[in-house]
């Protein structure tokens, strides 16, 4: 997904770290990663995060989200939606297609986001001062902290022959942290790939009303 961006900017002191939040294990991510690799000789880091450790550390709630980190290891942009938009919510569910206007707007928004990354790498633009970066950070509550512990436990139980109890822990995790789409979708997605975007998913998206599924980055 980020290969072109990496290829374009890799000689300018830039690195992409793509982390697959993949509780079912590396094999589920591998086909996508192998496909990305074929197109290029050198690659960015493509990491597998079965326990959603990154979501715990950075308080993430959905994919794709990105954090921008400077040369000193400082966060210069808090977690934000990385190039995705809510246009999908208006798609025709029968044909799974979007209107040409929405498709164009979606691509334009994605390109705008990539341009912002390019500008940051080339000139430092869009890097936030400390106060602004801090103000954009999501707050971890006690419920969210417990949700991450239960999610970790649920993944472990699923992987060690106790899917029933694993599911129960994951569902509790999701209930404790309702803003986390990653937890909800991984709790829903045990047997069938695609169930995480089935009818229940659409119902839950509709229930957002005016609230965004992918909050736009504040560039």
């Amino acid at each position: 997904m980020w290969q072109a961006l990496y290829d374009e900017l890799k000689d300018k002191g830039f690195m992409v770290v793509a982390v697959a939040e993949e509780s079912r294990g590396a094999e589920h991510a591998r086909p996508w990663i192998d496909q990305a690799r074929k197109s290029s000789e050198s690659s960015y880091w493509q990491l597998i995060d079965t326990d959603h450790r990154l979501s715990d550390l950075y308080n993430l709630v959905n994919v794709p989200q990105a954090i921008w980190i400077d040369e000193q290891g400082r966060i210069v942009r808090p977690p934000e939606t990385a190039g995705s938009t809510d246009h999908f919510r208006r798609m025709d569910l029968k044909t799974r297609t979007m209107s040409p206007e929405d498709q164009a707007a979606r691509l334009a928004a994605r390109e705008e986001y990539l341009d912002a990354v390019r500008a940051w790498v080339n000139t430092g633009k869009h890097a936030l001062p400390a106060d602004a970066a801090r103000a954009g950070l999501p707050k971890t509550t006690r419920e969210i902290a417990e949700a991450h512990a239960r999610f970790r436990l649920g993944v472990w139980l699923r992987a060690h022959g106790d899917p029933v109890e694993g599911d129960r822990q994951m569902n509790t995790a999701s209930a404790l942290h309702p803003d986390s789409w990653s937890m909800w979708r991984q709790a829903a997605d045990l047997d069938e790939v695609g169930k995480a975007s089935g009818p229940d998913f659409w119902k839950r998206v509709q229930a957002l009303g005016d609230r965004p599924y992918y909050p736009p980055p504040k560039l």
Binding site: A29, L47, E71, G73, I75, P78, A145, D162, Q169, S182
Partner: protein, 129 residues
């Protein structure tokens, strides 16, 4: 025997009555050392309630709750998870130094974020689901 999951590790230790364990196992699991003044990590010591320490054994669930960290268990009582306290997560992010982590790439090679110091890093999540 119980299996105890922490955010980055998995331990198998002998426990009794919940998460009572020897002080050395408590240190292995939590990183904190039992001292006369309480459980200590570097310069910091957290006093333990009198009901949470006895005969050089520690009630790690009580200690972890005192730290503000979640303690959860599977129904069978054999597998536990100790989560990071919310305050610790918030403080780490508010310091703005990107929390470090090590994760495997698809071939199993471990990669650590801080190895990339000196470069701008675009850290992004994705999923196949």
């Amino acid at each position: 025997m119980a299996i105890i999951l922490t955010p980055t590790a998995e331990h198998k230790v002998t426990t009794t009555d919940g998460l009572w364990m020897s002080a050395s196992d408590a240190e292995k699991v939590t990183g904190w050392t039992l001292k006369p003044e309480g459980m200590c990590l570097a310069e910091r010591c957290v006093p333990l309630p009198v009901t949470a320490v006895k005969d050089k054994r520690v009630d790690v669930a009580a200690f972890w709750n005192k730290l503000g960290g979640p303690v959860v268990a599977a129904e069978n009582g054999e597998v536990w998870a100790l989560g990071a306290p919310a305050d610790e997560r918030n403080a780490a992010l508010e310091g703005l130094m990107a929390p470090d982590f090590t994760l495997p790439d698809v071939d199993g090679t471990p990669r650590t974020l801080s190895q990339l110091r000196g470069r701008k890093v675009f850290l992004a999540t994705w999923a196949s689901w």
